[in-house]
């Protein structure tokens, strides 16, 4: 891979994963902006970013498809690393230590901590909800096949899942800003030994096991 990498760095995300992540991320931002524009009249002006109301209505579901496909690939890759383990539940019970930056008091963490895992599952559930309800309310192609009662329910579900997903992603983005050195994992693909040791010690041990240096 990258031979110019410094010695004291660990690869956390390979290039394809990073590209995939940013396809999901950019799609999400576009979807959140266009979705909120149609969700609340106070935010209708956001449709100007997409070329007006009709273009927003046309583009939103198409971008949604891109996001679902891209996340499906990302999620499949990360699925096995996100299984909840006993130590994760203990980690969640000590959430106070986490938010107060007393990470040393917490159980060891693998590639992902319990918070990241819960965000992962929240995203999956929301995307399933958004995809299914989105198809039902996609007026141009599919809405005609569903009863108005189902369309009403799907409209509400779509809004609910959208709000939950936006809140979850705000937490995800904040966590990356809060825990310094995290953003680099998704931009350059690497983290420092110290970062891995501090935040994901079990994963650090796993990837450095038997390392010849």
């Amino acid at each position: 891979m990258n031979t110019k990498r410094k010695a004291e760095e660990i690869v956390r995300y390979e290039t394809p994963t990073r590209i995939n992540h940013w396809i999901v991320a950019i799609s999400f931002v576009l979807l959140a902006l266009s979705g909120l524009a149609l969700f609340h009249p106070a935010l209708f002006w956001l449709t100007n970013l997409f070329g007006g109301g009709s273009w927003t209505r046309i583009l939103h579901p198409l971008i949604g498809i891109v996001m679902v496909i891209a996340f499906a690939l990302l999620g499949a890759k990360m699925w096995h690393e996100n299984a909840m383990q006993p130590r994760d539940w203990q980690w969640l019970r000590q959430i106070k230590d986490l938010v107060n930056n007393r990470e040393d008091a917490l159980p060891e963490v693998g590639k992902y901590n319990a918070g990241q895992k819960l965000i992962f599952y929240t995203i999956i559930l929301c995307l399933i909800g958004l995809l299914l309800s989105g198809i039902v309310i996609w007026r141009a192609y599919f809405a005609v096949y569903f009863s108005v009662e189902l369309i009403r329910f799907a409209s509400l579900l779509h809004a609910f899942c959208g709000i939950v997903l936006i809140c979850a992603i705000i937490i995800h983005i904040y966590a990356a800003i809060w825990v310094k050195g995290s953003v680099r994992a998704m931009t350059r693909g690497t983290v420092s030994y110290g970062w891995a040791w501090k935040h994901h010690r079990a994963w650090f041990r796993e990837v450095t096991k038997g390392q010849q240096k």
Partner: protein, 304 residues
């Protein structure tokens, strides 16, 4: 009708008042459709397509009198024919002129996300402004009467305007003008209610004990009303809803969920911001790097 009419009392997806200097001081308007007088000639359908310059596609016979089979972007009104066998064993032909009911509390307007695509005038008419329509179909979702139709050609929503252009210059709607039996009448809502009361009295004297006015309060009353022979069973008239109202789910979706949703988003962001200001970032310092190096060294010593 033009947006500069200064008599808009409600506008979709809008939080501030609209131009409303002019009111309907002569009273709100209403169209009264007396089903008992209708002979099903479809002149109203023809008048509608003539005045509004609409031409629906020539369809094929579907085995009943309804023609076209359903409302469409080109057919804003439609006679729906129902054969009803009454308890006496007689056949009654209940012919209902379907179309927009012009609700006082319009579900379409409540659901519409595009500012000014749906307006309600002071006189009670609910009108679609296609230039503002984005084609999302939320009006279809919001309507308790299954009226709006999205055009396949331009993805805009269409429905009966109650001839708002004619009414604004003092004319009656085209269907009213053309009706040969006087089954459709137009005037102030008060006058129409009075006229309906006379008709109902007449129908009752002719053996229709349950005759009554259809002006459902669940949607705040409507500006298109029916005189029904069987007002206790409106569903006999090709599924006219007995108690139409804006669905509770639509109410939730377009009501409390909007402020709550935005609040949730802002609150989440605010908690993050305050956490950063109050507790601060979680940084990896030199000690952590040192500890990682030390551990790695020990690890290397263990492995031969």
């Amino acid at each position: 009708m033009a947006l500069q009419s200064l008599d808009i009392i409600r506008r979709s997806a809008t939080t501030l008042p609209e131009p409303q200097a002019r009111g309907a001081h002569a009273g709100q308007v209403a169209k009264l459709i007396d089903v008992s007088k209708c002979i099903g000639c479809k002149a109203c359908q023809v008048a509608c397509m003539e005045w509004n310059d609409l031409r629906d596609e020539i369809g094929s016979c579907t085995g009943h009198y309804d023609n076209p089979p359903d409302l469409s972007d080109q057919s804003w009104t439609l006679m729906r024919f129902a054969e009803y066998e009454n308890p006496k064993g007689d056949l009654e032909w209940l012919i209902r002129k379907d179309g927009c009911m012009h609700c006082a509390d319009p579900g379409c307007l409540k659901a519409c996300p595009s500012p000014g695509a749906i307006v309600q005038y002071a006189n009670g008419i609910v009108d679609f402004h296609e230039e503002n329509c984005i084609g999302c179909g939320y009006c279809v979702t919001g309507c308790p009467f299954n009226i709006p139709r999205i055009s396949k050609k331009d993805n805009k929503a269409y429905k009966c305007t109650l001839c708002s252009d004619r009414v604004s210059v003092g004319l009656e709607p085209a269907c009213v003008k053309t009706c040969p039996t006087g089954a459709i009448t137009f005037g102030s809502k008060e006058d129409m209610q009075q006229h309906a009361a006379e008709r109902i009295e007449d129908l009752k004297s002719r053996g229709f004990a349950q005759a009554g006015l259809y002006d459902p309060m669940g949607v705040g009353g409507t500006h298109v009303m029916y005189v029904l022979q069987h007002a206790d069973q409106p569903q006999l008239y090709s599924g006219l809803p007995a108690n139409p109202k804006i669905s509770a789910i639509v109410g939730l979706w377009k009501g409390i969920s909007k402020p709550l949703g935005l609040l949730a988003i802002f609150a989440t962001a605010a908690v993050g911001f305050l956490h950063y200001i109050g507790i601060g970032p979680n940084e990896t310092d030199e000690q952590d790097e040192e500890a990682a190096r030390r551990e790695l060294k020990n690890e290397l010593e263990k492995t031969p």
